[in-house]
């Protein structure tokens, strides 16, 4: 049985950074969803989802990112995805979601944007 998803939540230059530490599939998407909700409950000015160590995301993970987009828009909070791997970028492309998200190569760039 796989281990639970560890998610680090930190504050960088006033932005809240949610950083899952491994893959996001159907078994782990609910944990990711809870972490994003928890981060938004603190009413940050900006939310960054750091995917730099995420080596695999399936459609459940993508659905969670789409939910995050919806929630941040409703709360008038900026959302940026940082550190997308080529695999995650490809998945965003084939689901035609790339244009929906603001992305940056690193968390530092995302927090400045």
């Amino acid at each position: 049985m796989n281990s639970p998803l560890i998610i680090k939540i930190t504050t960088v230059n006033g932005s809240t950074v949610v950083a899952p530490q491994s893959y996001i599939d159907m078994s782990r998407a609910p944990t990711m969803r809870d972490a994003i909700k928890s981060a938004l409950a603190a009413k940050p000015s900006k939310l960054v989802i750091d995917l730099s160590v995420v080596n695999y995301v399936d459609s459940s993970g993508i659905a969670t990112l789409v939910e995050a987009l919806k929630w941040t828009r409703e709360a008038n909070v900026g959302l940026t995805l940082a550190g997308l791997s080529p695999r995650v970028k490809t998945l965003m492309d084939i689901t035609k979601l790339s244009a929906m998200f603001t992305t940056r190569a690193t968390v530092e760039e995302a927090c400045k944007a």
Binding site: M26, D58, T64, K70, L91
Partner: protein
């Protein structure tokens, strides 16, 4: 499909087991000659198929049975996969991904499967549940980079 599959896996419909199946698929796909990107997409497509079975076939109950059978194909070079379950059957004509301009969570799995695989066909099993037959072939670059094709077992045995 007459000859025995290279790999057969039976799992419960428990999402926590998906990572284990992904590992087996990646391993066989590498052995067949799929390179990084197509191996990732093949693994993703099968993961999506299993997720759909768990979610829609078994209503996210973790005690349903799912069988995954994988064959190397020599002509054309690639992989054939059959996924079977005993869950709720669905009319194949109603299995389709959502419109991609309708941005909302969910409904992406079927789209990913159809976009990624060279063949994808759903059918009800006569004894209940569903059968999904998938195939993905090596592209020209992967064929050129891989070892010569193994003999075709169907021809060898005839």
């Amino acid at each position: 499909m007459e000859r025995e599959p290279e790999i057969s896996i039976r799992i419960f419909s428990d999402p926590h087991l998906l990572a284990t199946v992904r590992g087996a698929i990646e391993g066989l796909a590498k052995c067949v000659g799929f390179q990084d990107k197509s191996r990732a997409m093949l693994t993703l497509a099968i993961d999506e198929a299993l997720t759909n079975v768990i979610r829609h076939g078994y209503g996210e109950q973790a005690h349903g049975m799912i069988w995954v059978h994988m064959w190397r194909s020599a002509h054309p070079r690639g992989l054939r996969i059959i996924i079977e379950d005993l869950g709720k059957a669905t009319d194949p004509s109603k299995i389709r991904g959502r419109e991609l301009n309708d941005v909302r969570p969910g409904g992406l799995g079927v789209h990913i499967i159809k976009e990624t695989m060279d063949e994808a066909a759903w059918e009800p099993r006569p004894s209940g549940g569903m059968r999904l037959t998938l195939a993905k072939w090596l592209n020209a670059e992967e064929v050129a980079a891989s070892y010569p094709a193994p003999p075709n077992p169907e021809q060898t045995n005839s």
